[in-house]
Amino acid sequence: MTERWRKRLGDLDKVGPDEQVFHRAAAGPQLPNESIPLPSRGSRVVGGVAAFVVFALAISVFVIPALRMDQTAGAPGEALLPLWPARTLDEAERFQQNADDAGEWYELVDPSRTASRFATDVMGWSPDRLRVSERAGSDQPGLATSYPSGNATAVAYYGVPSGYPTGYSTGYPSTGSLSPFRTFVLSPTCGPTERCVYVAETEVTVFQPIREGDGGVWMVLEARSDGSTLSVGEGMTLTDGDEIAAGFGIPEGAHVNFGYHVGSGACGVTVTTDTFRSPADPSRFILVSGGSGLTVTLDDVRSDPDCVSPQPGYIFSSMAYEPYAGDVLTDTGKGLMISVSAVPVAFAWDEAAPPSNVEPTFTSPAPAPAAWKTWIDTLGWTIDVPAGWQEAEIATQGRVSTVGGAFAPKDTPIPDGEPTAPSEPGQIIVYVLHREGGSYEPPADDSSFPLSCDLLIQPGADQGTVFRGDGLPFEFSYAVGDDRPTAQQREIACHMLESIRFQPWAEGDVRNGLMATIPRDVLIPKIQFAQPTEGVLDGTWVTDAGLPYFVALPIDHCEAAGRGESSWETDGQVLTISCADGTSARFARDGTPAEGNPQEWTDPLPSGEAIVSWNGWVLTPVKG
């Protein structure tokens, strides 16, 4: 007996291809190569795609030299320049005046409105698809920058949360007044039954450039989107020949844009890369890792009489589903942006310019990494590794087996087997490992990424932390040959830890004995099921008060018993399986069979808690 819906599929036989479709093929491909990726051998396209340049993320050290003023000011203690909506203090003054007069920009006196306007005006997000939330602790005053006199440098940290390792705060005390910095998270919203395009969660840091306190307009200082990293820290000074880079997690079909803008006011030069389109597999949602690089060239700026060194500017990157290459902060009509990242920097040229990449204030045995590469582990996670380092795959067998990677400078031998401290002072080895076969670890949700350097707690001879990804536990550790790691070694380890990423889960993905069944936020607060699928997931799960839970059903439970097709329902506490022949069986949430069940269903069903993947999918165990 064939169900109606299945018979109706036969209606598709009423249409079919014309012979001309095949004959057209003789004319050859009509679409450009980059729009049609070739089928990959594996099920993932990860990093280093041939159609895109491999990445080398040039990362600055944490020490940030002072941001130079624009040409209208030069004395120490002057305020920072905003990125948006104003670029100079004069422009900011006009916005402030407009707000004071209760004009159209009055809303900027509310920092959350500034953040919100950034999402709508710069990123093209719809206001009814936008959630703005303030990052906890961001309303605490941070250190203000101050401007150097002579060769002194200052360090700026924005919204430094309490508990941040003070060992990283190298620099001079602020000589300027405290300026509050607040950070807001811009998140897209998507209803549980909607199918929405992916856009990246974005953080914007805002501050009051003209007047602090009530009535002072807030402006964006910096923006950073998920999956989009810039190699340059805020406030760095760049000059000719400096290499800058951006790294991306690129969704299917997205176009990448990266560049820099020099100047403000009458002086303004923008340089961008050509737009690049992701070759990601469009049949599944995959973020392709890639990056772009530029060499700072200031010839056009130098020849512009309106541009006098030094000049403020910014580095920016963006992604969009349509081709776009331009200054993402000022261009209008760009359409929907998947991500926007921008940081303020300074550009300098001529003999009076300060050196770029100011020397670190701490001593280190080796120069800071100027470029990074990506290690892709067999378990699918990736990590940034300094470009000049070696990588070693770790795989040990025994009662406890260990898999993962070890990373160290080329002059540091990496011993086989378990993590070992280097033998020589100044050396460092970083380990990321997964172990199996040791003491039982109950299932737990994945960690949130990026991991925080706060996990590497107090400085010591050996540093480490644990995290979870793709349902598995991992250890991150680094060992040094000295008694204590240097600040640079800590920074390298910190960067590597923060760079760890796992591949996104999508519906139906199976990894490590787990299957992604339903998004976690669809789950709550409703009671949901995932219907069993033959042979792979023989599980149905029930939620109660937000706790993902699974109860594993026998494969084709009714069909296998010759009772026809299966269906099931639950009230959250009792699971009822009904067969086409009219029989039924009931089970409690913990898998306990009810009395009176047919004979084949008198054994308890496996059950337990499901876990949640790092990107919000409920993962339930699968067979085989």
Binding site: M1, T2, E3, R4, W5, R6, K7, R8, L9, G10, D11, L12, D13, K14, V15, G16, P17, D18, V21, F22, R24, A25, A26, A27, G28, P29, Q30, L31, S35, I36, P37, L38, P39, S40, S43, R195, E252, G253, D281, P282, S283, R284, Y321, E322, A506, E507, G508, D509, V510, M515, T517, A530, Q531, P532, T533, E534, G535, V536, L537, V622
Partner: protein
């Protein structure tokens, strides 16, 4: 023999199934199915013996072209375009209703449902042809089947 594949034979044997799978995938857009299948064959023929599994290659390329077109069209118009008009043609009786129901499924669900429940391809074969995992195909089948039941009915017409 230079190792090239007989694409004439592949077209005769599997062209209609491929085309209808893309047609279903695109929610009933004939022009998308035509363009995608033509492009897939064109690329396969260009690559000659480099293609090891021509049918899988054809399916994957065709579905990717179709997917790109669906995304592009949706971005331009903000909505999925209407199904190629079939109403008014008595020979198409029932097909518009089917396509309207199919549009409630995701593209991957549509293709999986068609290939498994009508073209009678096993799950593993569908996974191989489309580049999805078997598990993903199974989930698409379950959800697609459930939705079509709701929309088109479960009872046997007979």
């Amino acid at each position: 023999m230079d190792g090239s594949h007989d694409y004439d034979a592949i077209w005769r044997e599997s062209g209609a199934t491929l085309w209808r799978a893309v047609y279903a995938y695109s929610g009933g857009r004939q022009e998308v199915a035509d363009d995608s299948v033509a492009e897939a064959f064109a690329r396969a023929m260009t690559r000659g013996a480099d293609v090891r599994d021509p049918l899988a290659y054809l399916f994957r390329i065709a579905l990717r072209v179709a997917s790109a077109e669906l995304v592009r069209t949706k971005q331009e118009t903000g909505t999925m375009p209407e199904t190629t008009a079939l109403t008014g043609d008595p020979s198409m009786n029932g097909l518009p209703d089917l396509l309207r129901a199919m549009k409630e499924l995701s593209p991957a669900q549509r293709a999986s449902v068609y290939l498994h429940y009508h073209a009678d391809l096993p799950v593993r074969r569908i996974a191989h042809l489309t580049g999805m995992s078997s598990a993903a195909v199974k989930v698409h089948l379950v959800r697609g089947r459930r939705r079509l039941r709701e929309l088109l009915g479960e009872e046997d017409d007979a």
